[in-house]
Every structure is written in structure tokens, then in C-alpha cells.
């Protein structure tokens, strides 16, 4: 973790066009480290990691609950928030968007909103066998709805 350079944290799913933009940033700043959070429940981070690989962009994966320590250690310099929509003075993003944006906000880390890929997370299956177990054992499905992030936090 100590070897991480200046972290740009990706939240949401970037399209191919945005992958090119991330690549250009990386080429302009060799110290830049692209961090891909897991993005539960569907582990969209794995999909983003694949796209980055295809684009030849070096990156590091972390689970969502590991983001706090990276903000705490001042590793994260910017959040690229690939949102889904803008509604009623809010930016709408996938499950966890409020978590990430608030962490950035309280650590004074700038958030750059970028319209993300419109792919539906519903096309992904449960990412862990425990998810299936929970469904079977407890008849319990965790709801993972889109989240509204107030515009003033992003500004």
C-alpha cells in the first residue's frame, strides 16, 4: 500500500471513450495509480478491471471498505464518478455512490462527475456463493438501489 502513487479512484463504469481519457491521464502522469473499487453487490470492479486491461491501463483493485484508509492516508487525489443520471439537484449513481462521494467530501478530495456507461448491473449474477446461500437460508436479498448524491457535495 505504501507504494501507491497518486490515486485516482474510479467509481461506476467508464465507457470505452472514458477508458481512453484515463489512459491519457496515466500517460501524462507516470505517478498516477488507477484504483478500481469492487462495487458490490455485483462486483462491477471486475468488469472495469477487464476494460482497463484491454486498454492497457495498469490498475489496482480494492474492496469498497478499503477506500476509507486510502482517503485517511491522503492517497486519493481525485474521484472520477461515472454517474447514471442527474435528477432534482442530485447526481444518481450505483449502490455505494453516497459512501464514496461523502468520503471524498469529508477529506476534501475533488470529485469529477462523468456520465458513465449505461450498462445495467442487473445483467450480472450474484458475485458470491454466500449471496446465494443468504437467499436460500434467510429468504433475504439485500436491496442495492441507485443512490442520490447531493450536487453540493460534488461541487
Amino acid at each position: 500500500m505504501n507504494e501507491l502513487g497518486e490515486v485516482v479512484l474510479l467509481w461506476g463504469v467508464p465507457s470505452n471513450k472514458e477508458i481512453t481519457m484515463i489512459k491519457e491521464r496515466g500517460e501524462a502522469n507516470r505517478d498516477l495509480c488507477v484504483l478500481v473499487p469492487e462495487m458490490r453487490p455485483h462486483c462491477l470492479g471486475l468488469e472495469v478491471a477487464k476494460r482497463l486491461n484491454k486498454g492497457g491501463i495498469k490498475h489496482t483493485y480494492a474492496t469498497d471498505n478499503m477506500l476509507g484508509i486510502l482517503f485517511y492516508q491522503n492517497k486519493v487525489k481525485e474521484v472520477l464518478f461515472f454517474y447514471k443520471d442527474v435528477r432534482d439537484d442530485h447526481v444518481v449513481g450505483m449502490c455505494g455512490s453516497l459512501y464514496v462521494c461523502l468520503l471524498a467530501h469529508v477529506h476534501n478530495v475533488p470529485i469529477e462527475p462523468v456520465r458513465g456507461d449505461a450498462m445495467s448491473s442487473r445483467s450480472f449474477r450474484a458475485a458470491s456463493s454466500l449471496d446465494e446461500y443468504m437467499r436460500f437460508q434467510y429468504n433475504d436479498v439485500l436491496e442495492a438501489a441507485d443512490e442520490y448524491v447531493p450536487m453540493d457535495i460534488i461541487r
Binding site: 459512501y99 458475485a127 439485500l142
Partner: protein, 301 residues
């Protein structure tokens, strides 16, 4: 109300039996530990943790008839937890009770009683209807807290953060609370802000692997984010501590585990991306509302 996680490690007839927490909730199996090598293997593979690793340490001392060697080996295997302090506790006990076995027996019995008292102390300061967010697993102590709340006419429900990558929240805490018929819901780790914002929770309770006299803590990865968000939403954040030390929290080694463990609970076989795995994080005192120590001391900010 009882959780097997409240006493996950036992010493019987010269053998330590350890509840394999990595197999829960699918099956309740026990591993036999006959020597220090076995104990270190169980510890390193996260088969037991939290109160389980405390018990494993005490009983390994009995098994080996030795304290310092065991403490050093444990400390090397899980560098963040303070096994050297546990060693001091055992040494102190042997001054009044020379038999190591007897001394450990007394410490362990005392510990459980203290955990129950601590639960009562915390229950007294929680709201009349406590909707509690928690992370990881506090080895059965949430059940003690629920019982203590009920005893004084308070109500409680739990929201459990799943705690990636090992999912101790879902696999252990959700399981033990549901077994005890306590109202509980699991959330994804990244939903902590949402349940605070929408008013589903009105307090947060976590354990701590290390704590300082100043009030800083080290606990399971994700705790810091939870505390910081609770602070933002003005939600009280309470921590269960054990014997805080007068040390600088920044000097404690944060254990980084092998990156392949990040994907241990996911379906599929990879190839997986390069990953980080810091096991713990630091939460500074300013984001904590109250500390309830095993010694009986309660401090509120």
C-alpha cells in the same frame, strides 16, 4: 441466548479445539490444535480471530508451558493485535496463581464476566430503541448487548455490514444474531452512508483490535469509513476496547494480507486483478463518541 462464537476456542484434556470460523455459516466444525505449530497455522489462516485468538493464545501458553515464545510467534503471525500485552496479563496472573493452567482458567472466566458487564454498561447509554450498525464480528458480544438492552426495557435491531473480503459480518454476525432470533439485516459495506442518511440506524457499535489511551483505535478494515460517516451524520459511534495503551497508534503495524484473499469468497477462478488487502484501519479518537473498556471503564466524548 448463546452464540458458539462467544467461546470459539476451548481447552479440553490437553487439546485445544477451535471453531473454524471460515466454514461458518455453512457448517459448524472444530479443528484440533495440539502444539504451537498447529496454533499458528489456525491463526494465520484466519480460522479464528477476535476473542478466539485471545483464547487461542492463552491456551497455547498452557499447552506449551511457555509465555514469551508463544507471544512472539503469535505477534509475528498477526502483527496488529497486541499479543505481548496478553503475555503480560498471563505473567501477572501467574504471580498470584503459580500454575499456568489455573492462572489462564481464572483469566478466561473473568474475561467472559467482564464482557457481560461491559454489555450492560453500553446498554445503559444506548437509545431506548437502538438501531445498531456494526461491522465484522464481536465474538458473541452483540448478543450480550441485546440481552442487556432487553433487561432494561430497551429495544434493538441490528444492521450488519458484510465486511469484505472475508464477509465476517454476513457469515458470522448475521448468522449468530439470526440464530438467536434477534432482528438483523445485512447491508453491503458501501451502503453504510445510505442507512445513516435515511435514518435506519441511530448508533454504531464496533470492537477494536488495538486502542490507545488517547482513544484512537485499530479495527477491521472499513471501521474508519463507518466512523467518519457516522460523525458526518451526527450518529454516535461506540467502541468496545480492551486495556488501552499509552502508545502512538501510527507506530502499530497494519497487517497486509495476501492479495489473493481479496477474492476468496467470490465465485469464479480468476485471473484476478492486482489487489490491495490492508486488514485493518485506524480510527482517530475525534470520530468516536464512547469507549467501553473490558476493565469496566466507560468514557464518552
Amino acid at each position: 441466548m448463546y452464540s458458539p462464537l462467544a467461546f470459539p476456542v476451548r481447552l479440553q484434556k490437553g487439546t485445544i479445539t477451535v471453531l473454524d470460523e471460515t466454514r461458518l455459516p455453512h457448517e459448524e466444525t472444530y479443528i484440533e490444535v495440539r502444539n504451537l505449530k498447529d496454533a499458528l497455522e489456525v491463526l494465520g489462516q484466519m480460522k479464528t480471530r477476535a476473542f478466539g485468538q485471545v483464547l487461542l493464545f492463552f491456551y497455547s501458553c498452557v499447552l506449551c508451558g511457555e509465555i514469551d515464545t508463544v507471544a512472539e510467534a503469535f505477534q509475528k503471525t498477526r502483527p496488529t493485535f497486541d499479543f505481548l500485552q496478553l503475555a503480560d496479563t498471563v505473567k501477572e496472573a501467574t504471580q498470584t496463581t503459580p500454575s499456568l493452567k489455573e492462572a489462564v482458567k481464572r483469566i478466561v472466566e473473568g474475561f467472559d464476566e467482564k464482557r457481560k458487564v461491559r454489555a450492560q454498561q453500553l446498554a445503559a447509554i444506548l437509545p431506548p430503541t437502538a438501531n445498531i450498525l456494526t461491522i465484522c464480528n464481536i465474538s458473541g458480544e452483540l448478543i450480550y448487548i441485546f440481552a442487556a438492552l432487553r433487561e432494561i426495557g430497551k429495544k434493538a435491531a441490528f444492521f450488519v455490514s458484510e465486511t469484505r473480503p472475508y464477509l465476517q459480518g454476513t457469515r458470522l454476525t448475521l448468522w449468530e444474531l439470526r440464530q438467536a432470533a434477534i432482528p438483523t439485516r445485512a447491508i453491503y459495506d458501501n451502503q453504510a452512508a445510505m442507512v445513516m442518511k435515511n435514518g435506519s440506524v441511530n448508533c454504531v457499535i464496533t470492537g477494536s483490535d488495538r486502542s490507545t489511551k488517547r482513544g484512537d483505535i485499530i479495527n477491521k478494515i472499513g471501521t474508519y469509513a463507518m466512523a467518519r460517516l457516522a460523525h458526518y451524520f451526527h450518529i454516535p459511534f461506540y467502541v468496545l476496547t480492551q486495556f488501552p495503551r499509552a502508545i502512538d497508534i501510527g507506530e502499530i503495524t497494519i497487517e497486509e494480507r495476501p492479495q489473493q484473499e481479496v477474492f476468496i469468497e467470490l465465485d469464479g477462478e480468476g485471473p484476478w486483478p492486482e489487489a490491495l488487502y490492508p486488514s485493518f484501519d485506524i480510527t482517530p479518537a475525534e470520530f468516536i463518541s464512547g469507549w467501553i473498556d473490558i476493565s469496566g471503564e466507560v468514557r464518552c466524548a
